[in-house]
Symmetry: C2
Subunit: 275 residues, 2 copies
Amino acid sequence: MTSRDIFQQILKKKSFLCVGLDPEISKLPACVADAEDPIFEFNRRIIDATHSYTVAYKPNFAFYESYGPRGMAALDRTVRYINKLDTNIFIIADAKRGDIGNTSKMYARAVFGEMPFDAVTVAPYMGEDSVTPFLSYPGKWAIILALTSNRGADDFQYHPGTGQRLFEKVLNVSQRWGTTDNLMYVVGATRAEMLADIRKIVPDHFLLVPGVGAQGGSLEEVARYGMNSQCGLLVNSSRGIIYADSTDRFDIVAGEKAREMQEEMAIYLAGRFKV
Amino acid sequence: MTSRDIFQQILKKKSFLCVGLDPEISKLPACVADAEDPIFEFNRRIIDATHSYTVAYKPNFAFYESYGPRGMAALDRTVRYINKLDTNIFIIADAKRGDIGNTSKMYARAVFGEMPFDAVTVAPYMGEDSVTPFLSYPGKWAIILALTSNRGADDFQYHPGTGQRLFEKVLNVSQRWGTTDNLMYVVGATRAEMLADIRKIVPDHFLLVPGVGAQGGSLEEVARYGMNSQCGLLVNSSRGIIYADSTDRFDIVAGEKAREMQEEMAIYLAGRFKV
């Protein structure tokens, strides 16, 4: 997908919502716990209930790897299910990968060759050759961590250099490695006020914004400081949607929560684009 | 395992060698290509031939993930095989993981709960809460990337701050999160001259040193600049051992290469300890 393709979907659905699919078996409603593949069954019902309101899904690999082979099989089924339902939905492998070039090439093969993901999140610490193998698949994206939404972001990401902090250097240096059609950045919503500064460095790139909802970020601020001429935002919500209800109505309530966010997003989009 | 346990194994085997198990199907000798599980069969023969000369193995997850579920099944079999052969061998999940606390907890469960690894490599970009979940398993280790052996290391790891570069800050800050019995650091052998400076910051921690062999680092320099009072080094070699020969004698040649490294290591150990 190109950035233009993503923007078209955003206008069509009046939404820049990404739903994080992070299933924890201990949190799954009783009604899916007895299914043959509880993780997939949970995801499938969440996807059915939310896909009208979302342009992207983001399964975090940790939640699947932690259940071993059956977890990874459920991830595989989930991605194929989304892809079959609507090929225009952007599917992000939230895996925070990154290794020496030779090895990142194998990680790229895992997410783009073995599974039909559109994008993968990548940690920047190991530099250019750890990221570029993810950029060699036409139509696929690398989403580089810039400023994350967690407390630990303070430890190194603000490390001051000569004139620029580490996350600013990551943005400045890494944008040379790809284009606005294969590189995005993670910028946490808990730092929404930073988005204005970040937009000076990467005015045209899409940003993947976690941290709205459970982690406390404001959607309104993210839209105000982060939106660009192609919207340029994918705002993720995981726990606030998928665990909004723990009864057998969990999917209906998840759909309602997703629709609420979509409706708020529609207002911000209407203020800027003809939708 | 404690650092003392690792040191005891080093003295016993007169070796601080770690063998990287990074199987690529396209590189596997014809004699294993027809096996039911070629990846496991390759690893098993490498392990049988090298385990007398090594104190650690380090499968890199990318090489298994890139073959989907059958790759991950081969990884699982490999780790259990090593563990059954000799529980004193230190097994490192080279996965470069790291995410927000809630998520890193799931990654920790994947490598320590689902599989019998002793350690996992971790990227430091997301800070403290991304690393500490790996430190809560008794006897298990997190190995934090400090200075890596690839070209891209220059992009951000030397980012100068007030008085310390990024990799120095990573070493200074992160050692507060754990102890010398659950935290190690990755320091590439291609920067062996940096080891003297690094030892001033982390005199007592074990270091995992990739980059000897195929990547050009010198074992002699690593030993000279990096050894501490408990040896404090695990030097990894992957391609230089496992792909030293591509015939049906691949395991015998791998064993010879491992023994050559072990014999050189024995000299450096004898210069320092009673072995």
